[in-house]
Symmetry: C3
Subunit: 155 residues, 3 copies
């Protein structure tokens, strides 16, 4: 088990089975030592996702938890990209966070912090990333949050 | 004609004239052998685009067709980036898909599959890409779909 | 002062203090000589941002000005990434522009031109970038515009 997974275990978290894409693409690609991970929605088993719309029927805290689930999904895909050894992960470079919300909701950063904080907890300094967080009217499967990411591999 | 264009011809498809940007930017840039292609909207000639809003006045199938047109637009720009020789294209790394939709529309993946499936048809294994697909309230010129992309060049 | 800042001064513009992230992330990361800058909102001092919704309570020209402010914020972060010497900046590769708007607003390109034109004015040919511009229902802090960017460094 990598240091990263040990840290997650200390937080009571485990990596999920990496989700199969819900459509005609692949979970990640690698170019120039950079791993581009597809947008992850907050799968909670059995093909179900955390649904909701911030500003309508979901509180910020619940949205942040959904974002954390997306971040765990990203790391599960990165582990695949590392052939199962997260020790090969160099760092998290960029997260793109999309929050399903109403037009009057302005706390997208607090929601996506659920993903960003998870990266910091799991990766330490290597988890410090650039980020964009925006609102959207709707996401695949009714997901409350979607997060994609760019990571680098060692060597 | 490159293998890629032969495959497209077999599908009854041809690359469009690469669209001029509708604003103050360029169609693509190249860095570290990676081609960053600007967001393509579904131009259908004469400056017109496929307009529509999924969940309101456009069905999934029509949206997917619009996404395919965006994907052809991406390849037309990549051909320019290859100085006209698509044989220099290495692979499609990432697509970003934006679907104009209502807040209750959740089939963004099926719409953007129109672009993803085109990449697979045209490029084969080299067309397998990471992806994010999200809903948005509105797109340039009233477009139903916008797709941007990252590709790599050989050598 | 770099040539870039001289050009900005000729336009009556100055780089702002680089904004601290409004959440758990960092302003930029560097990988393979590429600088990934976090999404910048139009800060106007004292933690306030230019708020508004295009198509509802803000005109295109005001939106373009907000986008210009975002672009200045991007350059301020890039200057940090260059250890204070913008002479080390190679070029602007890609901008991602998000415009808070109503579902019937379709002039996202004209709004984000505020950022693109600033890059051209400040960087000359090195400012020519790929771009995506989309509408969103809402942005952090009620911002009218958010822009993120990828840049390359010399050497």
């Amino acid at each position: 088990m990598s240091d990263i997974e040990t840290r997650l275990a200390d937080l009571g978290l485990t990596l999920p089975e990496p989700a199969a894409p819900v459509a005609s693409y692949v979970p990640y690609t690698i170019a120039n030592g950079m791993v581009f991970v597809s947008g992850q929605v907050p799968f909670i088993g059995g093909g179900a996702v955390i649904t909701g719309t911030l500003g309508l029927d979901m509180e910020v805290e619940a949205g942040a938890k959904a974002a954390e689930v997306c971040a765990l999904g990203l790391l599960a895909q990165v582990k695949l990209a590392c052939d199962g050894d997260l020790g090969r992960l160099d760092r998290c470079i960029k997260l793109g966070g999309f929050v399903a919300c109403t037009p009057d909701f302005t706390d997208q950063p607090k929601v996506i912090n659920g993903a960003s904080d998870l990266m910091l907890s799991a990766l330490g300094d290597a988890g410090r990333h650039a980020r964009a967080a925006v609102g959207v009217p709707a996401l695949p499967l009714g997901s409350a949050v979607e997060v994609d990411g760019i990571f680098t591999l060692k060597g």
